[in-house]
Symmetry: C2
């Protein structure tokens, strides 16, 4: 089998390192041709020694380095796993040239998703979702006609505050907000999970990636986080994709698409570790493990609950940004970053996060979502959100 040439933007981050773990388990499937990291040069050096890319770059090298990794490396698939907007131009350059992109850079799809999808449609590049929820929807849509889809549902764990009262959430401290029940992620993402802004952003991403308007993209809370998404078809059929909450599953799928890898690492549940999996199934409780049961459990339960918009106003704000369109999703995303940082720094209460975002969305005027427009809206939103945070600080001293 010919190895697939892979370049990673953001190789030292959470998604980047897990992607390299997938590659390490499938040396016959991938050839790492280029790696780009930010400031963690030591880890990048280790990765370079292990995977032997022709080219590496760091934040010091500036945008030219990212461009070389994404485009000049000759990669067949680029994993876009940097945070923020640093790699926007490099990713667009790859997509314009028809290079497939595995998209883990949330801001890219939230802020510049319309443009990205349009560019990919023109060049024939595939945009492959890395998020477990979007990977689920992508997988459920394979071989199906878009016109027969009634709705798509993204599952949400509900985050640490799913059972918390509105009053208690109002002044929740950082420790409580960081206690995510299922996934281990960075601080920003974990706070987004506590406000459920993560789902709001995912709704926008799903709308962009799959071309459904916001009213057809819905959320269902599923505390076990085994089912990652549902597609509801017009004829009453529903398809769902499920997997252990291990990011290497959707990462591996995005990198190997349309093929599937033979295994995805040394995962939980342990029975999935084999290659092929099925050789390791020896008992009937093992079957349940494949559906997400913990070791030896003889009954497995999935629960689904309707989301509660009252306690999670960030979800509403995301739907509003999506419906307003233009650069409003970029404003939402940037203002959210500022608000979350202010909460983490102890400057504002947890309950004020949505206020900051909503007020910033009111202040920044939407415009056409060109790359330039997005950058400008992003900057204006950060300025506005900073001012709003400062005003809140003054009023609560």
């Amino acid at each position: 089998m010919k190895r697939r040439r892979l370049a990673i933007l953001g190789s030292t981050g959470s998604i980047g390192t897990q992607a390299l773990d997938v590659v390490a388990h499938h040396p016959d499937a991938f050839e790492v041709v280029a790696l780009a990291a930010g400031r963690n040069t030591e880890l990048l050096r280790e990765q370079a020694q292990r995977f032997n890319p022709a080219f590496t770059t760091t934040a010091q090298d500036g945008p030219d380095g990212l461009y070389r990794v994404a485009v000049e490396s000759g990669a067949e698939v680029v994993l876009a796993a940097t945070d923020g907007s640093v790699a926007f131009e490099a990713v667009f350059a790859a997509v314009e040239r028809g290079v497939d992109v595995a998209v883990a850079n949330k801001e890219l799809v939230v802020s510049a998703g319309e443009l990205l999808v349009e560019t990919a449609q023109k060049s024939g590049a595939s945009l492959l979702p890395v998020d477990s929820e979007h990977s689920a929807i992508f997988q459920c849509l394979i071989g199906e006609e878009r016109s027969s889809v009634a709705a798509i549902l993204l599952t949400a764990s509900g985050g640490p505050f799913w059972r918390t009262s509105r009053e208690a959430m109002e002044n929740a401290d950082l420790g409580a907000a960081l206690a995510h029940p299922t996934w281990r992620m960075g601080t920003k993402n974990t706070i987004d999970s506590a406000t459920m802004m993560n789902k709001g952003l995912e709704v926008i991403e799903a709308s962009r990636l799959f071309g459904f308007t916001g009213d057809r993209v819905r959320i269902v809370v599923h505390p076990q986080s085994i089912a990652h998404g549902f597609v509801i078809f017009s004829d009453g059929s529903v398809k769902s994709q499920l997997a252990a909450p291990d990011m290497r599953v959707p990462i591996g799928y995005a990198l190997s698409y349309p093929k599937r890898l033979e295994s995805f690492g040394e995962p939980p549940p342990a029975k999935l570790a084999g290659s092929p999996i099925f050789r390791n199934i020896s008992s009937d409780t093992d079957i349940l493990q494949l559906l997400g049961a913990k070791n030896g459990e003889a009954t497995l339960r999935y629960e689904f609950e309707a989301p509660d918009p009252a306690r999670f106003p960030c979800v509403r704000l995301a739907y509003e940004a999506l419906s307003e369109g233009g650069t409003q999703p970029a404003v939402l995303s940037a203002a959210n970053e500022v608000a979350v940082a202010a909460f983490v720094e102890g400057r504002i209460a947890f309950g004020r996060i949505p206020e900051v975002i909503e007020e910033a969305m009111n202040r920044v005027r939407p415009e056409e979502p060109t790359l330039r427009g997005v950058r400008r809206a992003d900057g204006e939103a950060r300025t506005a959100a900073g001012e709003i945070v400062a005003a809140i600080e003054r009023s609560t001293v």
Copy 2:
């Protein structure tokens, strides 16, 4: 849209009438060209008046009538929904000519499945499963490579005796065995559900239809009967298909494949009735209803349990018949019919049903599963099972 020409073998049975209900709701999608019924000539006459087929036939007309319905009617898709083996030749004749067949005739796939699939592969005819479990697997396999499938799981409701002790099952009466929790079906199918032979037969069907050996076809008990099947892929991803327990969903899918209908009748849940469905979603609890929640429920729960082979020996017998191959599945199926009939007539205890089948499987020698071989094995199995039943009766008087 051009209407699809549909012929139904067994139009007055449970599947046949539900198929005509689907057709009645989609007059633009289907044209009924021929109907075949058994003895219910009155209902057939009503159906003929309503759907205006060019041709009808009853049991009185013999095999020629079935052949005319399946082949000479010019149908593009034939729904094979008769019981037993009466329509085998007619269905094979259609498949040989490349006509797509929606298969609801369990015995056909269990007893002559290898031959059927081989014939379809030669002619290019599609075999479209009608059973909800097989439809689920079929839908989850769309667009996927067969080589990346680790296993398929069929869900089972567990039937009326899922929580019953082995001792209580031994002498369970007919009323208890007929109290199926989820689906309404005929007597034979409901007893098969109580012994879980229905799942055994479905395992054989799945093995034939999808080309996986028995060790890759497994059962998981799911009392809510919303998820109908799972496909487990080598990379740790799992796909599932879900739907309300309404046979019109898989029937409609089989008849309209590869398209999906816009709705499937006046179903539960009520929210699925619209066309397209999504117009009727107005609240977040409606979302749960799409996943199977009862009206207004805010939490939905799916449970999955490992099957219990000790209390359901019929499942083991089915795996054995599959693994032995040849005409053994036909023997299993025929002996099961005789044993179930003997239980329904009060001649043997519930707990003796598997004994009759196992003993019949021991007595009838397997042979090549040609149509002729299948018919001979079927006859021999019925004779053997009848003798075994009589012996049990004598010994327990």
